[in-house]
């Protein structure tokens, strides 16, 4: 059995000590793609912010595996466009871990990893482009390259396909699926676009603040739940 990358043990999320959802337990392992699904305002973002460390849990435990190396792919609009940067600069900026920023030559030594990450996400040609001028789809590829350049074992993704058209969204999911299979990455992805989640996710966490639901498990199990059928219908389930 492979090592657990992320363990949620009765995790309760919320703000200022007030729980938002029931306690949630789950174990994320290498090679799994977990989708955090739910409607707008259901608690997905709060859960993701808690996983990122931006919010403290209200209760329970959240623990990363001992050898877990985590990276993050933000959603559109999370970049300050006034900050001057080319695509390659964005990728370089994601390489540091821990105290490596005190070593002036650390990024230089990661040159090959940076180049490989750009290549893997088909973003090589964008390297010298000004980041702010890229399309949303191109930006997502660069964000993903940035995450890969730090040689992660787990990647958290916040609505990575929200700005993409259907074709680009499918390509993005295919890329994530390939990375999951080939690199054995654990992926945790927040999304309210359900077009491709059922086909590519292996597991899901369904949250619904109104119905006080926090359900985690294999994708088929979650999509077969009453809460999922209530909000999304049965069509998507049949595709799995």
């Amino acid at each position: 059995m492979s090592e657990v990358a992320l363990r949620l043990d009765g995790l309760v999320i919320g703000y200022q000590g007030r729980p938002l959802l029931p306690a949630l337990s789950a174990e994320v392992r290498p090679g799994e793609l977990w989708a955090l699904i739910g409607r707008n305002g259901s608690g997905k973002s709060t859960l993701l912010r808690t996983l990122l460390g931006l919010l403290a849990p209200v209760g329970g435990r959240l623990s990363w595996g001992r050898s877990a190396r985590v990276a993050f792919v933000p959603q559109r609009g999370d970049h300050e466009d006034a900050m001057p940067a080319r695509a390659i600069d964005m990728v370089r900026s994601g390489v540091d871990r821990g105290w490596s920023f005190v070593d002036p030559f650390f990024v230089g030594r990661r040159r090959e990893a940076i180049r490989a990450a750009l290549h893997e996400t088909h973003a090589d040609a964008l390297a010298d482009e000004v980041f702010a001028t890229l399309s949303e789809g191109q930006k997502q590829r660069v964000w993903l390259a940035r995450a890969l350049a730090s040689s992660p074992s787990v990647i958290l993704l916040d609505e990575p396909t929200s700005a993409l058209d259907a074709v680009a969204e499918r390509e993005a999911f295919e890329l994530l699926d390939r990375l999951r299979r080939e690199r054995g990455l654990a992926l945790v992805l927040a999304s309210h676009h359900m077009a491709f989640v059922p086909r590519f996710a292996t597991h899901a966490v369904l949250v619904d603040r109104d119905d006080q639901v926090a359900l985690a498990g294999p994708i088929a199990e979650v999509l077969g739940s009453a809460t999922y059928r209530k909000h999304y219908g049965a069509a998507a389930v049949d595709e799995v």
């Binding site: 900050m83 940067a85 900026s93 871990r97 920023f101 000004v130 940035r146 730090s150």
Partner: protein, 423 residues
């Protein structure tokens, strides 16, 4: 009365050298840190910090009156200013992750508490009130040698930390979630960033005054961030603009009998205007003409990069030469401004710029790119003129030179660097 010249300035270097170099050092470091101030939307930080420092000094005087100046718990005015300034910056830094409106409100809160608190305490420390202004809001006209030492040590240490650890500061400033998951010491870096900001703003304000500190902590960063293509370049350009503005502001104030703080502010404003002018130079996407063999394009690209960097280096050397003249005088190292060194640098600059222009036009078939090199060449020649006759240092020539530097910077750093990769 005859107008003053550079010769007069250097003849009186013992008197004017210290404040001119102080302006350059403060401009350099504030310019560098200003990039974080501007891009994190904290432009009123220096105004708020100045008021907080004012409250700290007032509290210190009040405590001295109430408990006696010798009491162990009564801080000196400087320590009081630093303490309150630090707390104030924590209040602002603590707004992290909330909306811009909340952060603005925090800045407003710090400013108003500082201003109102100083006024309220003013009624209890009437005799000392006049001292607060002189303690807090220095004048760039005259800088005491001991103040210069403080600036050199404090700003030097801050500069070193920021040059070495800029990646950490950039990560917590522009990618907080990423920095958290990659386990960077986010709290430590945020605290250090704001502590160094508070330190340079409060010390800078005490020594050269509030106006130039406000200007130098905001405007050089505007130039750097809008002309550069990445953060290290923005930090470098902003620091260079700050240093030049700090020094030349003093020089122009001397030559034209202007108030120093206003002169430094106006020089950096001129940089902003020139930078905006340069940004409006049409910069169409650069694509290599068909049929150019890859290796040749690569060679030209490499030459272009070297040329561009050299042009910028020569420009920086010539612009900073008056500063170097001061350093040479203080350190007794005349080789720093040896005319032979200047001549060799200029000759190489001309050769490189000409090579770049020919390469851009003949090989890359990009006349506009060639024009960029011609501009760089023009600046190198202008620099030569400046060397031939220092009396030519007048605002028009200076402005033309700065425009050329900015143009060369933009052309060199962005369009040239992207030439090969867009094929």
């Amino acid at each position: 009365m005859d107008s003053l010249t550079l010769t007069d300035f250097y003849a009186a270097w013992e008197l004017f050298g210290t404040p001119a170099l102080t302006g350059a050092i403060i401009g350099l470091v504030l310019g560098l840190l200003g990039v974080y101030v501007v891009l994190r939307r904290l432009v009123f930080l220096s105004a708020a910090v100045s008021q907080a420092a004012s409250l700290g000094v007032a509290l210190s005087f009040f405590a001295a009156i109430s408990f006696g100046a010798e009491h162990a718990l009564v801080p000196s005015p400087t320590v009081g200013a630093l303490l309150v300034t630090f707390i104030a910056t924590l209040v602002v830094a603590g707004r992290r992750g909330r909306s811009t409106a909340w952060r603005d409100a925090a800045l407003g809160l710090v400013f108003l508490v500082g201003a109102a608190g100083t006024l309220a305490l003013g009624s209890r420390i009437v005799q000392e009130l006049a001292d607060i202004d002189s303690l807090l809001f220095g004048s760039a006209v005259a800088v005491l040698p001991e103040d210069f030492e403080v600036v050199a040590w404090v700003f030097g240490a801050v500069l070193l930390v920021h040059v070495l650890w800029w990646r950490g500061f950039a990560a917590v400033s522009f990618d907080l979630p990423g920095a958290l998951v990659r386990r960077l010491p986010v709290g430590f870096l945020e605290l250090l960033l704001f502590a160094t900001l508070a330190l340079v703003i409060s010390v800078g304000t005490r020594i050269v005054g509030a106006l130039p500190v406000f200007a130098l902590s905001v405007l050089p960063a505007v130039v750097g961030a809008r002309l550069a293509t990445n953060l290290p370049m923005a930090l470098g350009a902003s620091a260079a603009v700050g240093a030049v503005a700090g020094y030349y502001g003093y020089l122009l104030a001397f030559l034209h009998d202007l108030p120093v703080g206003a002169s430094q502010t106006l020089v950096v404003v001129a940089f902003v205007l020139l930078g905006e002018a340069v940004r409006r130079v049409p910069a169409p996407p650069l694509r290599l003409a068909p049929g150019i063999p890859g290796p040749r394009a690569g060679q030209v690209r490499a030459t272009s990069r070297v040329t561009a960097r050299f042009a910028v280096a020569v420009s920086a050397y010539v612009l900073l030469r008056p500063v170097l003249a001061g350093v040479a005088q203080v350190a007794d190292a005349p080789a720093l401004v040896d005319p032979a060194l200047v001549t060799v640098a200029l000759a190489l600059g001309v050769a490189f710029a000409a090579l770049g222009a020919v390469g851009a036009v003949v090989v890359l078939r990009r006349p506009r790119l060639g024009l960029g090199f011609v501009v760089a060449l023009g600046w190198v020649l202008a620099a030569g003129l400046l060397e031939l006759g220092e009396e030519l240092v007048r605002p028009v020539v200076l402005a033309a030179g700065l425009l050329a530097v900015a143009a060369a910077f933009r052309e060199a750093s962005h369009r040239i660097a992207t030439a090969g990769s867009r094929r």
